[in-house]
Amino acid sequence: MIRMSRKLSVLFMTFLSIGILSQPALAESSEPVGNLVDISRLTQGLDTVWVLLGAFLVFFMQAGFGMVEAGFIRAKNTCNILTKNFLDFCMASLGFFIIGYALMFGEGNGFAGWSGWCLMGLDPVANGVPLYAFWLFQAAFCGAAATIVAGGMAERMKFPAYLIYSFIISAFIYPIVGHWVWGGGWLAKMNFADFAGSTVVHTVGGVAALIGTCMLKPRVGKYAVDGKANALAGHNIPLASLGVFILWFGWFGFNAGSTLSVDDGSLIGRIAINTNLAAAMGGIAAMVTVWKRFGKPDLSMAMNGALAGLVAVTAPCAYVDPWAAIVIGASAGYIVIRGVEILDKLHIDDPVGAFPVHGMCGIWGTICVGIFGKASLGLANDGFVYSGNPMQLGIQMVGVVGTVAFIVIGMGIVFKLIDMTVGLRVSREEELRGLDIGEHGMEAYGGFQIFSTI
């Protein structure tokens, strides 16, 4: 600012000195120039503040993920999951800086970008905000996608394996899908719409978690010989509940920040209300469902419901009206409960419900764009309920199928390779004693008396 207005005044002086009385036009015109410049600078400044606020909030979601995942598992594996959650963000920051950003937003083909390694040689302004601010916002997203997997593979995955995985997903896998949708890739070209990442972030993370948890096999003691499922209850529900609030809080930045610009505020206002209504309805619907099906209002499930609603509304948040957000959230709340049940029936052991929440509801949310989206809100085609035309719906389906296929194959190979090299799963003894001691040589709650009977 200073520099600018100094330039301005200089300019102004000079033009004063060179006798103004002759050509006033110049004088006045110079003014508007000043204003215009001021205004565009101001606008970019405001947008940057908005994007950075979003980035900070999305970063903070990392804490939310950590607390939810830690709270929902057993005390003896708490340090392990927290270390994973903490380091995958560090890894993501590094990987997305060196390689990821270039693959996602660099000049390239429909499959991947191929320029801007380490952000070098890029225009200092991206999408109307400073490149560095834009990067931070995107990097925080990348971290979120990476950490989702930690929950699904919790309580039995080797720490070194996780480190490798987290670098690969944030440097390669996530950015490629991101390029398809947000980097001008093939999905973007066919008008696939995922406003804030139901597909790019959550489906990617959720499906990766599913693949991983399938390859890891269930935790010791999770399913009895007779096939009956045992509950391996979480050890710290208050922590998990705090985590859910942090996630919800951060999600406002996740969705509303994705506008990348404030404009007159009407769009970010719409996104914020949709985000909130979907989360609230997800929580209510999940509680009602679990209450009816299992006789008790289980908090852990109600919280999963709110997250499900948030995940589902992430893609459509900018394209739908509040009533639609309510429907989307409520349906997601129902889906997640059934999803948890189904996984248990299939003996797929997903300790925190990473796939039902992020995978299933990520897909559902992406599809909802095709159902409830409105062209008047910037979508390519009106959604099914408005147009009766399955056009957009079809496009969304393609996007979902493409992404799921890519992740299943890509992450399948990655996990397989890790398993064959460093190995994915800890020994039975270590698992029984807890990964905190085995992997990190420390305990989460020193001095506390804790039964480790299950």
Partner: protein
């Protein structure tokens, strides 16, 4: 000398302690325990999975007393803990061969109190 072990309902500890004080039994040790007995447990459900809980929260008392204090100790515990409902608990009495006060090295009867 006898060692009295009693399992009671946690919320009864206060009453039992008062009853014991009245009976001039002022020394005791308490630990946190889980117990299953006649009292049937309850069902929990976590993320859609039913859990049959039959190990219920109890409090374990350990009291070393001289022979002549035994009966009043038992009576005091019963007085404090009884609700006549299943789950009230149990009292076990063992022979105590020796007792030593660490501070003084005293042994036997004098060491107990």
């Amino acid at each position: 000398m006898k060692l009295v072990i009693a399992y009671i309902q946690p919320h009864k500890l206060k009453d039992v302690k008062q009853a014991l004080y009245k009976a001039q039994v002022t020394k005791m040790s308490v630990t946190n325990a889980l117990g299953c007995g006649e009292q049937h447990g309850y069902e929990e459900s976590y993320r859609g999975i039913k859990v049959e809980v039959n190990l219920l929260k109890k409090v374990r008392l350990e009291i070393a007393v001289n022979q002549d204090y035994l009966e009043r100790t038992i009576d005091a515990i019963i007085e404090g803990a009884r609700t006549e409902q299943i789950g009230d608990g149990k009292i076990f009495v063992l022979d105590l061969g020796e007792c030593v006060r660490i501070r003084t090295g005293e042994r036997g009867h004098d060491a107990i109190g």
